[in-house]
Amino acid sequence: MSPVTAARRATGYLVLTAFALIFIYPFILSLATTFKSREEVAAEPVLPWPLNPEWRAWENVLVHGDFPMWTLNSVIVTVGATLLRIFLDSLAGYSLARLDWRGRGPVFAAVLAVLAVPPIVLTIPRFLVLKEMGLLNSYAGLILPLAVDAVGIFIMKQFFEALPRELEEAARIDGANIFQTYWRVVLPLARPGIITLAILSFQGTWNEFLLPLIVVRASPEHWTLPFGLSTLGRGGAGGQTFDYPVMLAGSMLTILPVAIIFIVLQRFFVRGIAAGAVKG
């Protein structure tokens, strides 16, 4: 190896390691801080391990606080919204990709138009509609607005279009009706696409903050993990009075499920992003 190549390789690793540290160190430090006492946090804010480990923060979060209830609510909402989204998005995506019906073009164009609406613009509108439907302060109010999304329909349509047609035609000839063909033949083939959609949906719904804020603010028994967490410390002027070990233990608990899924199923995350990027 020439000295120039060696030098460039060393610089490359140096850059990558420095940035890996910048992106990961905050998480490691936060995890360590959850095992520190408040005094230790004030004295040693930088050390990425506790000197006198204690379980106080985790006891507060897992035993005494409302976190178990918030976690349960998050699970209910995330599972409900994700299952509905997989079913409805794939059904619509299949129809748009494969079935022959008049008006399909305009309907797909409408779905694309919906993609262009920035979510923040929906804050007041969603509140309005949920209030009129009497769904404020309920699980339905948290789940139904997230049960269909235009991005998911788009992803599933793309995926179905890439599948070979022969199997479906064979199923039809064997006498299966359209729904049976979709349910027994097409959906099993579409597993990678469905996993991608499920992960996008899980991550998005689990982390969702704005919807619980406007829908269940007044009803603590419906609070989800991110919203409940946010009530621990808001508008951090000065921040001297915050109980950092507890705040960060709550944060770690909120991050953990997505982190596990991310590490195990990383390639599906990457696929979701890459699909969008390459199409551009």
């Binding site: 460039r8 390789r9 490359g12 990558l16 940035f19 890996a20 992106f23 905050p26 998480f27 936060s30 801080t33 004030a42 930088v46 409805l88 619509a92 129809s95 494969r98 079935l99 022959d100 019906w101 008049r102 399909r104 797909f108 919906v114 920035p118 979510p119 923040i120 929906l122 804050t123 509108p125 509140f127 269909v148 991005v151 788009f154 992803i155 009706n177 996008l200 903050f209 704005l210 804020l213 406007i214 991110p226 967490l229 410390g233 508008g235 951090g236 000065g238 921040g239 944060s251 991050i255 997505v258 991310f262 995350f269 990457v270 979701g272 890459a274 699909a275 969008g276 990027a277 551009g280």
Partner: protein, 365 residues
Amino acid sequence: MVDAARAGTAAPAAVPPPAGRPGRRLRRRPSRIRGRQALAGWLFVAPALLGLGLFLVAPILMAFWVSFRDWSGLAPLDTSTPTGTENYRDLLVESGVVQSDFAKSLRNNFYYVLGVVPAQTALSFFLAVVVNSKLLKGKTFFRTAFYFPSVTSSIAVAFIFIFLFSPSGVVNVLLSALLPGTVETVWLSEFKGVVHTVLGWLGVDTAPAFLGEHRLMGLSYWDWLSGPSVALLAIMILATWTTTGTFMLMFLAGLQNIPEELDEASLIDGATPRQRFFRVTLPLMRPTLFLVLTLGLIGTWQVFDQIYAMTAGGPQKTTLTPAYLIYRDGFENSAMGRAAAIAFILFALILAFTGIQRLLLRRED
């Protein structure tokens, strides 16, 4: 609500025109099957359309109607009174605290976009090029590490940053080690704009007469030119940190799409690495660059969660953004009509900015 990038969604901008291909072949079949397909086709999309219509289209139409009314959000909707264009006029024309708050939110968000979009784009492109280098191993590890912050909860990450930027936190410890003296900045309470701070170092502490006297939307030119406050700067750093990984993945996908022969051909032609980057890689990456800039622009104009959790618009309203104002006016100040009006102005603003950007980038071709 998070930037489009954090949500990890496929790109709205990346959408190809609707394909009319599938199903063509089936047209020749007997009409009984076509009829059944037409029915099934509609039945299959009906639930999704109902969902989108009920929670997206109908709400937007209703909110547009409400933006021309006075409604507290607490009383039933039919007790609201029509006010014509008053909500819009209060925000844009009539001087008062409503207008100056809106002006501040526009100023703050403008500086936020101006800082975050170039930073996240440049950094993610740079990291993608380094990660993609053939010389280096361990790509998967570094890719994972860089992308990880993007998938985590915005509130959890905001709390981590409150801790990092606390007066005795890591950031101040680090700066104290690097700079002379002890740094004790109370980041999230510091409202002085960075442009004002720099001018202060140069001896300009008060507004020059011209800038101080003239006003636009109730804010003096001097206040418009303040730059982002130190508190907003901390949130900008957070935003760059959480979005870089997603955009890096998009750039990586783009880089891996460049045919290897092109790179080899330019290598044989004797191009230097610098020439290869600027003459081969960069032109081929234009579509990805355009996508990342568009998503960045759309995302940064919607910053909300981090502001809610970290500063709630303070200190001295220097982290107010239109998105946060929608929440504050609608839910804390019970002015739903005005909040809806802000939402539509913001919508128009985002459409205008992405449109302008599209024009600018197209013209270079």
